[in-house]
Every structure is written in structure tokens, then in C-alpha cells.
């Protein structure tokens, strides 16, 4: 279990993490979602004791990371694909980490096979593809067989097969009662992998809830309506308090009224409907909507 309490990190010119409070529970996959620059990586580095909070605290299993007697057995982390010396072989990199905790060589072999880098284990890491580097990082995180896994953008650079592999692995590990905390800026990936979401934007938590409730809460709740009586219907709905926009092809996009209300109003006024479709926002849209004001770097298109 990871508990962040009023966790804050201020750098010289900007606040990267702004008094965030959250709990990551064991037994499920918790997604840490936010646009680039939202403070996800900084938060994860503070959990791992690599960056010191400006104020507030974060603990793993009730203790600050620095005070854990055997950190690799409690927390495994993939903080970035390349936290590895490029001149060393994958096997030696893992061995050097394992030795700090007296983890046997057999376990090093085991994680190498588990992540599927057996063929390149004795090659120097400098020549690894992004995907292999990612798998090596995951192997390092699994070395101590820890109860908590923290993975920063784990699917980065993985091919579709690799993505499915890590998704299944994380589900499996969460099923064993472990705490799984993964960050991503890809909403679609989170929809498939995570049970619970902590969403951040500009250093603040903007949502902390189950994936399903996140989607429904943030849904735009628009209803798409087609009718031969565009003008009449639009007037009636607007009078009833709806926000209506008429698109070029005659589609009415109705907000603030639900589908049954629209159907009843149309029937009351003798207006025929050809189509009545409540829109469910995707996780992607829900996320965009929630963080629209919080995104630091807006693209010019998209």
C-alpha cells in the first residue's frame, strides 16, 4: 500500500507536484494518469526516495522508502527505460542489483526468462531496443519478488504482443494481492489494464475513482438526435432548457436533457424522431475533459 499525504515538490521555477493526497490499495491495478508534465514521474521518484518532497510525505507499507530494511523485497520499480549502464550486460546489471539484497543468481535467471530476454541477457545493454530495455527494467523491478510494483509508462516501446504480456502479468500480480501502480499518458491503455484511476493534471489530483465510474462521471452526456423537424424540435428542446447544436448534416447534439426526456417532449409536440442515441464518452474523452484546463503544453492541432 502506498500512501501520499499532502505530497509536494517545488523546483526552482515551478511546482511539479502540488499537495497531492492519495492511497494506492493492494490487490488491484491502479493507474496513474495524466498528461506529460503533470508530475507523475516526480511523484514516483519521491515514492522511491530518489527525490525528496518539499513538504508532505509518502510511505510504502507505512514507512518511508529510505527506512525500508529490504527495499527490493517490498517495492520494485521501473522508473524509466534506461536506468542502466549501457556498457554492462543485462545479466550483470541484474546481478549487481540482486547482490545488494543477497538475492541468488538463480533468481536473476528466473526473471530474465520471465520477461523473455534470455537470448540477449549476455549482450551489452547499449544495443538493446526500447522494448528490450523496457523488459530489462521490468525484470529488475521483479528481482526481489516485491509486494508493490511501481511502473512508469511500462508499455512505452513495447510491441502489441509485449503490451498484452505486461497487461496479463500486472493483472496476475494484482490477483496475488500485490499493489500495482502504473503511470501512463495513454487513456486507452489504462481502460484495459487498470481497475482504479488516480488522475493528475498540473501537479494536482483531479480524480481518484474506479475506471468505470470515472468514465460515466466524466461523460459529456450528449444525446444525438435525428428528426425531419430540425427547427421545431430544436426550438422545443431549447425551451425545455437543453443546449442544442445543429450540425451541417442535420444532426442535433443535445446536452442537459436525457434521451427519455427528449423522446417525451417530441411526442408531446407531435414531432417524429428517426434516431435517438445517448453518447457514452470514452475514457480518452473523459480524460481530456477533466484535464482540459490542466494541460500544460497544448498542441496546435488535436
Amino acid at each position: 500500500m502506498i500512501v501520499a499525504d499532502d505530497l509536494t515538490k517545488v523546483y526552482a521555477e515551478k511546482t511539479a507536484v502540488d499537495a497531492i493526497t492519495f492511497t494506492v490499495q493492494p490487490g488491484r491495478v491502479t493507474g496513474f494518469l495524466g498528461p506529460n508534465g503533470a508530475g507523475k514521474s516526480t511523484t514516483m521518484r519521491m515514492i522511491m526516495g530518489l527525490a525528496r518532497p518539499t513538504s508532505g510525505s509518502v510511505t510504502v507499507n507505512g514507512r518511508e522508502y529510505r527506512d525500508l530494511p529490504a527495499p527490493m523485497h517490498e517495492v520494485g520499480a521501473l522508473l524509466e527505460a534506461r536506468a542502466v549502464h549501457t556498457g554492462r550486460t543485462a545479466a550483470n546489471h541484474l546481478l549487481a542489483l540482486a547482490q545488494t539484497h543477497g538475492i541468488p543468481r538463480a533468481r536473476v535467471r528466473e526473471v530474465i526468462d520471465m520477461v523473455g530476454i534470455g537470448e540477449v541477457a549476455d549482450k551489452r545493454v547499449g544495443g538493446f531496443s526500447l522494448g528490450m530495455g523496457q523488459r530489462l527494467g521490468i525484470a529488475a523491478a521483479l528481482l526481489g519478488d516485491p509486494g508493490t510494483l511501481i511502473l512508469d509508462e511500462p508499455v512505452n516501446g513495447l510491441d502489441p504482443e509485449g503490451i498484452k504480456w505486461i497487461r496479463d502479468l500486472l493483472r496476475h500480480l494484482a490477483g496475488q494481492g500485490r499493489t500495482i501502480f502504473i503511470s501512463s499518458h495513454l487513456m486507452s491503455e489504462m481502460a484495459l489494464t487498470a481497475d482504479h484511476l488516480i488522475v493528475v493534471g498540473r501537479g494536482r489530483v483531479v480524480a481518484d475513482e474506479a475506471v468505470t465510474s470515472f468514465i460515466s462521471r466524466a461523460s459529456a452526456r450528449a444525446v444525438h438526435v435525428r428528426s425531419p423537424h430540425v427547427d421545431d424540435l430544436s426550438r422545443v428542446l431549447t425551451a425545455a432548457g437543453a443546449a442544442v447544436t445543429v450540425q451541417a448534416d442535420g444532426l442535433l447534439v443535445v446536452n442537459d436533457l436525457n434521451a427519455p426526456e427528449i423522446a417525451d417532449l417530441a411526442a408531446d409536440h407531435g414531432l417524429r424522431l428517426y434516431e435517438l442515441a445517448p453518447q457514452q464518452a470514452s475514457l480518452e474523452e473523459a480524460f481530456m475533459e477533466l484535464t482540459a484546463a490542466d494541460i500544460e503544453y497544448h498542441g496546435s492541432s488535436s
Binding site: 490499495q25 493492494p26 490487490g27 488491484r28 521518484r45 522511491m48 526516495g49 530518489l50 527525490a51 525528496r52 522508502y65 529510505r66 525500508l68 530494511p69 529490504a70 527495499p71 527490493m72 523485497h73 517490498e74 520499480a77 522508473l79 524509466e80 534506461r82 536506468a83 542502466v84 549502464h85 549501457t86 556498457g87 554492462r88 550486460t89 550483470n92 546489471h93 546481478l95 549487481a96 542489483l97 547482490q99 545488494t100 539484497h101 543477497g102 538475492i103 529488475a140 526481489g144 519478488d145 516485491p146 509486494g147 490477483g175 496475488q176 494481492g177 500485490r178 481497475d195 474506479a210
Partner: protein
Amino acid sequence: MTATQTTPVYVPPSGNVAFTGVLASEWTKLRSLRSTVWSLVAAVGMLVGFGLLFSWGVVSRWDRLGARERLTFDPTRISLGGVFLAQLAIGVLGVLIIGGDFSSGMIRSSLAAVPKRLPVLWWKAVVFGVVALVLMTVASIAAFEVAQTVLSGKGIQTTLGADGVLRAVLGAGLFLTWVALFGLALGTMLRNSAAAISTLVGVLLVVPILMNFLPSDWRDHIDRWLPSSAGDSLMAAHTTDAQLSPGIAATMLVVYLAISLGAAAVLLLKRDV
């Protein structure tokens, strides 16, 4: 999917970070990089090779040297002439041993495994220090013996048994070990290999040259306290009045190293990585 009451509770394996573990880990890190091996080979090669080259040069020109030059000839000093190059190889290696960790991001893996941080620095220093001490001492003795063999062609050799010679030869090994660890401290403090190597070269080679621009009475007071001058004293069979005695020189080097490693430790503890 949601967590339920029946979710199993995961119990991790036990075991602590032990100092023997960190020691073994640092040894693995050191031996598993090709650059380490090549830098050490280069340092040994320069030490022995240049001792050989310089002695051969003297022997080949000995009959044409003036009386004064013959009188001041120091067979110990010439055999250890390779120190000036070897110090760069071993010092740069000292920087890279930690600098490479900072530039590659490896330092995060290392410090996540050992969040108390300082054991990483201390054991790195111990492992690298012992390797450097053993290799540089052996190489210094080898350079000395090879050079004396060459010099014996003109009967101008000396022996380890002669006054002050053994201390000078061992002093060369000690000074090179000092440079290695000073490089490690600079690399830790500056976190940037290029900056640390520049600083190392500056301290060892440039500052002594700058001394020549000072008025001589200032220079005489300052120059002897420089690490390079203390090293010269340590490696000289017979020190001059302008130099510190070998004992004081060694003490000063220990003090400088303690200060720089101490500063490195404080910064390593304090900084985010």
C-alpha cells in the same frame, strides 16, 4: 474488476541490505565494464612503458651528458616518470566509475536498491581503492625494476634496498590510488564526467603551471601544499627543502581526500537523482 474481501494478502520474501551484499554488488559493477578493464591496463602500461622509455633514453645518451646532469641523475625518479600519464588514466577511470552511473541513469537503480545511499559510495571507494592500490603498487615496482635493468647497462641503477627508494616506489602506488579516489570524489560531486575530468586535470596539471606566475616568495609557500607537489614528495627518494617531508605529504593527501569524499557523501545524500 474490483478488489474484494477475498483478495489474497501478498507476503514478500525477507532479507536485508547487508554490507557484504553492497560490496559484492560494487565488485560486479566494477569488473563488468570493459572500459574499467581497459583503463586499468592503460594505467599499468603507461607506468611501466614510459619508465622503460625514459631509462632507455638516458642510457643511450649517457656518454654525451654533461657532468652536472650525470651528478643530479636520479634512477628512482626516472623509473617512475610514467606516473604523470598513468595518473590521468586512473583518475579518469575514478571519475567514470560514478560519472557513467549519473549519465546513464544507473545511479537511480543503484540508489533505489540501497536507499541509504552512502554504502554505495563507501563500498565503491573501497573496491576501486583496493583494486587501484594493488595494481598501481605492482605496476610501480615493475616499472622500477624494468627501468633499473635498463639502467644497469651503464651501471647507473639503484635498488629497492637503497635509502628512501622503497618508500618512493610504494609512494607512487599510493599517490596513483589517491588520484583514483580523488577522481571518484570529483565525479560524485560534479555528476558530470566532462566537468570532473577537467577539474581533475586542472588540479593535477594546470594549477602547478599557474604557480610559475606567482611571485617566488608566494609560490614557495603555496606550491608545496598542492596535491601534485605532495605526490612528488611521496615519490622522491630524497626530498628537497622546498618540499614537504613524505610523512607530512602523505598526511596532507589523506586530509584532501577525506574532505573531498566527505563533500561527495554530503551531496550524494542531499541531492535528488
